[in-house]
Amino acid sequence: MYIIVVGGGRVGYYLTKALLDEGHEVLVVEKNAAICETINDELGSICFRGDGCEVATLAEVGTGRADMLIAVTGDDEDNLVACQVAKHKFNVPRTIARIRNPQNEILFKKLGVDVTVGSTNIILEHIEEEVPTHPLTHLFTFSDRGLEIVEVRIPPESTTVGKSVEELSLPEESRLILVIPKEGKPHLATASTILQAGDQIIALTSPETEAQLRATLRGN
């Protein structure tokens, strides 16, 4: 695949390195001459100095034949414009934007950016995982399908302990996948599965029904 990376900062640098290792053709567009030089020295001559939001620059680096454009500068507005120009002027099939402000996730999708990656949300999720009392942890998001895989812990004081899955009225968009009991082997969740104190439940849900799923599973 031919992939254009806009922004050669820390994220851009390591992303490019990883994509090169996977065997892709990668080109980095970076405004700063010193950063360009470093990338060209360390990763091979793959950095083009210029403004990745400018039509002329993108034309010069052959954006018309790119399979993907990934904008990872530190500014949300620059990432948005780079993706929009790639999409609407050069018909790039897939555009990915890094976002800093989580609020922009919905906006960018509405404006035609295929995927957004928000470091703020990712950091929050990882910290959540480390907080043992946190009732719900995000494990994975299928952003293009509006679905996510989450983990819910059943505390001993839950009113749902001892109840079977079919007794609970789970939200329609939610599916329980796996139950990891405190002791014993993990098993697939079925209608007759009885919830036990300390269970970790892995479930598929939509972000909208996440809160409802958590409340139903924990009985609060």
């Binding site: 939001c53 400018e54 039509v55 002329a56 500014d75 949300d76 507005e77 620059d78 948005l80 414009v81 929009q84 120009v85 609407h88 002027k89 402000n101 609020q103 906006l107 509405k110 404006l111």
Partner: protein, 138 residues
């Protein structure tokens, strides 16, 4: 008319003054309070410090009731993004933005934004003046 102007540079401040003099309800937004020195002392509108890319700030500026939103900061991308927020999130009836880069202006014009490239317009004016030959002082 209720107008929110983002960017209190020379153009933003001048537009704010003109609209205010004509009795319109004007709110000017800028990230730097020092920019408000460009507003005349008799300015009757509101000057608000904040980043217009933040939807909360736009709400505070009254974007939900605004009839028009004009964005004239120094950054093309900032203008483009703010204009799209005003248009697609807050459904402001009239949104105008400045885009210096003529190529980007073209793209966003076709995407339905009312975008003006002051670069193109000013270059055109200069060219016409030169071609007319005589000096006109106005």
């Amino acid at each position: 008319m209720k107008v929110v102007i983002m960017g209190c540079g020379r153009v933003g401040a001048q537009l704010a003054r003109l609209l205010d003099t004509e009795g319109h309800q004007v709110t000017v937004l800028d990230t730097d309070a020092y920019s408000f020195r460009r507003l005349p002392p008799e300015f009757g509108g509101t000057a608000l410090v904040g980043n217009g890319l933040d939807q909360e700030v736009l709400k505070r500026a009254g974007i939900e009731e605004a009839d028009a939103f004009v964005v004239v900061t120094q950054g093309d991308n900032r203008n483009v993004m703010a204009a799209q927020i005003a248009k697609h999130v807050f459904n402001v009836p009239r949104v105008i933005c400045r885009i210096y880069d003529p190529l980007r202006q073209e793209i966003y014009q076709t995407l339905g934004l009312e975008a003006i490239s002051s670069t193109t317009i000013f270059a055109q004016i200069l060219k016409e003046r030169l071609e007319r030959g005589e000096r006109c002082i106005s």
